[in-house]
């Protein structure tokens, strides 16, 4: 056994390298493999900041729904947050995107999904769950000038239809299953100006907002796509290969395919993608 930093011989039972003082038994680096990741999350050999769970994560449910989130290629951290859970016959997805111009936006989005998703799974109405999340995010701010903020979109799938609620520019699309390439059909309207600034959000400076709510009944089998603008900014004119949306295709594969597309287009923002099969034999 040798020290990962100075390569001096070390004994397995030692806590520190006797030659250079490096603490032994630290987590291994994702890039160089040295057991040298320190408490701040940097490798003490190659310097790489280790990816955190939130930087890059995947999630699947037994019922087939899948989600991926990624910090993208331009941002230092992921300020998107997502929740995807099942309760009986109900599937709940919530996606929030931290507002870049607000402080601690990553906390805002994390708190919002943490509060809203379990509430929706318990049967709380979409507007009420939105209000609960809004209250929790508002508490993070000490003043209107220090107000962490995020967008919000929720989808509750039950009994063959989806109830959607949103504020800001995170969106829901419909991807019909088909033989050929398919284009995504948008189901939500952004709360945003023509130049892209959002006009509704969660946060201490948000005012008393009611979310937009819509019930969607699928025309046939397909997948509900819930996503942040890190994906949809690259969806215009983009067609998804039919095979990927095929009833036999795994939603996780389609989610990864969409993520690759977003990163391939530049990955300018955090990307979050949730896919829930809906209609047809999925019920």
């Amino acid at each position: 056994m040798t020290c990962p930093l100075c390569a001096a011989p070390v004994l397995a039972e030692h806590a520190f390298c006797e030659a250079c003082g490096h603490e032994l038994g630290a987590p291994a680096c994702a890039a160089c493999g040295a057991q040298a990741v320190d408490a701040d999350g940097y490798c003490e050999r190659c310097g790489l900041r280790q990816p955190t769970g939130r930087d890059e994560a995947e999630l699947t449910l037994p019922g087939g729904a899948a989600a991926v989130t990624h910090k993208g290629l331009r941002r230092a951290r992921n300020e998107d947050a997502m929740a995807l859970l099942e309760a009986g016959d109900v599937t709940v997805a919530v996606v929030c995107d931290g507002v870049g111009s607000s402080p601690r936006a990553d906390e805002a989005s994390a708190v919002a999904v943490e509060i809203a998703a379990p509430a929706l799974a318990r049967g709380t109405g979409p507007a009420e769950a939105f209000a609960l999340a809004g209250k929790a995010v508002a508490k993070l701010g000490s003043s209107p000038d220090d107000a962490p903020a995020c967008t919000y979109v929720s989808a509750v799938v039950a009994g063959g239809r989806a109830t959607l609620a949103w504020a800001g520019d995170s969106r829901v699309y419909w991807l019909p299953h088909g033989a050929g390439p398919v284009s995504a059909v948008r189901l939500t309207d952004d709360h945003a100006t023509s130049t892209g600034e959002i006009t509704a959000w969660l946060g201490a400076d948000a005012g008393d907002w009611k979310p937009s709510v819509r019930v969607f009944e699928p025309p046939g089998p397909g997948s509900l796509l819930v996503c942040s603008d890190g994906l949809w900014r690259y969806l215009d004119g983009h067609t998804v290969p039919g095979t990927a949306v095929h009833p036999d295709g795994r939603p996780l594969d389609l989610a990864r395919e969409l993520l690759r597309h977003a990163l391939g287009c530049g990955g300018h923002d955090n990307v979050t993608i949730v896919l829930i099969p809906l209609g047809g034999q999925h019920g």
Binding site: L5, G47, L73, R74
Partner: protein, 430 residues
Amino acid sequence: MGDQPAFTLQIDQNKYLPLDGREVHAILTVSSTGTVTTTTSVPAEAAEVIIVDTSGSMSGGKIREARQAAASAVQALRDGVNFAVIAGTDTARVIYPRGRTMARASRATRAEAQTAIGRLSANGGTSIGEWLLLARDLLDAHPDAIRHALLMTDGQNNESSDAFARALSACSGRFVCDSLGVGSDWVPAELRKVSEALLGTFDFVRNQSDLSAFFNRITQESMSKTVAELALRVWVPQTATLTFVKQVSPTLLDLTGKRADVNPLTGDYPTGSWGAEEREYHLCVEVPPGQIGTEIRAGWVKLVRPDTQEVLASGNVLAQWTDDLAQSTRINGKVAHYTGQAELHELIQEGLSARAAGHVDVATARLAKARQIAAESGREDTARLLDKVVEVDPRDGTARLRRNVDKADEIELDTGSVRTSRLRQGGEGS
């Protein structure tokens, strides 16, 4: 060390690198926020050696000037400070007190020392290294004190450069030495070596009447130090290279060559003793190429006491690769400012050397460019001195060297070029 001040370390940089970017620059601002003063708390023990050049080149006006300077220095010593006075020729001898121990400053010992200084005459050779070695021996008897020497000379050293370098290296890290240039034919080059090796300043006081104020400042500064010896401990990744570590404020001092390895990735760079003050350092790391979006710690900086390994402050220098030119081309204001200050210093040094060697074109180009940077970065004093050496036509920018340059102006320009200006609040580019 109940009086030890608190330290902070702040890092200014633009962490974004273009895809082929390899160089990471950062300015470290180290502040000691302590309010330890000589009136409100027990001062740290201090030991001061005053060294007077009494070689033959000092005869006439210069030895009178040096005697007055040394007497002023003694006068500025606080009661209780350990001190000694050395007269230097081709050998060194302690002229006060007698023997090889130091005296405790009091009204009586200060008067005795001033009497001894008044009897000094100029005669013999110059071996600055020998003087510093004797100062080291005296100061070594006070290992717990803030150790400091004050050297007064015309800088005309006739020791072999090897012997001088050996002596400097033997004294390095043992005490801090500030130097004062005496006379108008003073040679800055040798004292620059002393300042670099012993982490001190070197100054030229133009008017005799300013000497007392100068010594008051130097000895006050020295006696206000409360922490004897701190180092900047810098880690860089295994595949990276630490290109340089320089003090850039209040003066320029290249610490790169003073590295003491801690382990293969980490080295200590000495910073000398600290009181309540603020200094800035410029660090440059060459990193291997990285992938878009990847963030690394390119440098991990800690302010440490090497004797106890205590970490007083720390910070990260980061690098993140991006294809967004708006991010990667932004230059941090402080990095730009101190890069300019270092360039100004180099231009002045190169310009003065070229001028001395008779290379008129090189000297003119360098000094004219220096004049421009000095004006742009708020160094009015430096710009004024440069105006005495080089004349720039404001209409078309053509420059020519002035014929009759006061030697004192040239020395002041030469010695003063290591002083840097601070970036003005809200300064351009920040």
